[in-house]
């Protein structure tokens, strides 16, 4: 479903993403793990067609993201980092706007908005403007937007960021449920989340894939069977001075 080959993104002389390749099929939930500034968001922005890659190839359901972006973008639902939304719009207005851009009209649009509102528990704030929402509601509004057209591919950049423990639990459950019939890629730096929701994990550090496998496989790499030990062993904290050729855009 998603095929990424030798993806590179350079910002000036800095390589934010350096030769990343992976593929994800339907029914898989792929977790992107890595320290801050490792290139997770940049990779997702390329996969969703926001950043054009410096080199490499991305296909979504057979559509090349660079050559046929509209067809590829149609298949994707995307939650960007920090869950942006138009401050002056109401939740209802915003979701209707997104549904319309997804080509949903009339009754189909009403049903889609209703479904997304139910999935993300937004009934209470439906007619509130987005800038008055708490962080959790704002996040769920943007998540609802990504689900509105019932996409085949879901790409979620830190979907549980800023949520309280109950909401985190809900969202993880949602990701797991959606992952049964769709392709889900999500990024996080919370290790327990990976174990709770992912069928496969890719660990990125300084723009490169440094490990990949099922959560169980990765855990097996450490003598105590703990994921955070594996994580610490293969990624470098950002306080470490890096060599010039490992320079990474934060």
């Amino acid at each position: 479903m998603i095929n990424v080959e030798h993806l590179v993104k350079a910002f000036g002389p800095k390589l934010a993403v350096n030769d990343v390749s992976f593929s994800v099929e339907r029914g898989e939930v792929l977790g992107f793990l890595g320290p801050n500034g490792a290139g997770k968001s940049t990779t997702m922005r390329m996969v969703t067609g926001y950043y054009p890659p410096t080199s490499g190839r991305i296909t979504i359901g057979g559509h090349d993201m660079v050559e046929d972006p509209i067809a590829a973008k149609r298949l994707i639902g995307y939650l960007p980092e920090n869950a942006p939304g138009y401050a002056d719009m109401t939740v209802n207005g915003f979701l209707n706007f997104c549904a319309e851009l997804r080509g949903l009209q009339g009754d189909a649009r009403k049903r889609a908005v209703h479904r997304a509102v139910e999935l993300c528990f937004l009934e209470n704030v439906l007619y509130q403007s987005i800038d008055t929402l708490s962080k959790g509601y704002k996040h769920r509004t943007c998540l609802a937007q990504s689900l509105i057209h019932d996409p085949e591919v879901l790409i979620l950049d830190e979907p549980t960021d800023g949520l309280d423990p109950n909401q985190k639990h809900e969202v993880r459950g949602l990701i797991k449920r959606l992952g049964e019939s769709k392709v889900v890629i999500f990024s996080t730096h919370i290790l327990e989340e990976v174990e709770a929701a992912c069928s496969r994990v890719i660990i990125i550090d300084r723009g490169r894939i440094v490990a990949s496998g099922t959560p169980a496989e990765l855990k097996a790499r450490s003598p105590e069977g703990k994921l955070d030990e594996v994580f610490r062993a293969i990624t470098l904290p950002d306080t470490v001075k890096h060599e010039p050729n490992h320079e990474v855009h934060a």
Binding site: G49, I70, K73, P84, Y86, A87, D88, M89, E100, S129
Partner: protein, 247 residues
Amino acid sequence: MNAWANIRTIMKRELAGYFTSPIAYVFLVIFLLLTGFFTFTIGNFFERGEASLVSFFTWHPWLYLFLVPAAGMRLWSEERRLGTMELLLTMPVTTWQAIVGKFLASWLFLALALLLTFPVAITVNYFGDPDNGVIFAGYVGSLMLAGSYLAVSCMTSALTRNQVISFILSVMICLFLILAGYSPVTDLLTRYASPVVVEVIAAFSVMTHFEGFQRGVLDTRDVVFFGSVIGFMLFVTGVIIRNQRAG
């Protein structure tokens, strides 16, 4: 037809954005107060004793110089500041659909502001017998002028997430478009550049093209000029937005 549906959706949202915030009301009130003040007090509308709207339209290039960038400065900078640009451009819409939709929304808003000056046209018809063809041409010219300034603001707002910078840059470029054909400026330029270059720059001035409309002449060349300014500025907007993402 899909393209038009996308443009319309983006346009509707942007236009509604003006009215859900105080921007629209502040803008409309100030625009109408200032046009009234310039037309009747400074322009001596009544003392002129002629049935025309010359004293109304003469001020538009200067009035728009500040008001149009104020209406257009948020178009893309706000989108960048909120991060919604990432949302918008990962939707199945093309960059130019988004640019055109946003531009049309603001232009429509400016057209509404201009339309609300209709009492001036009624007044002049009540007191005298003006050539309404000339007045119509004046309105068309004014709308084209507003569109050109707006396209400039659209471009500068794509450059930065800071609305103040976007506003100042836009005012500067619009001022250039006014002054490019202004003799003190062209004299200064001849000292540094060849006459051909100066002539080319002078041809970019909006003033000469705007004056044609005021005389009641709907010249294709003037329409093409304003159309080209709009087209070019929106094209540059597209290039800027693409380059920002290319890194």
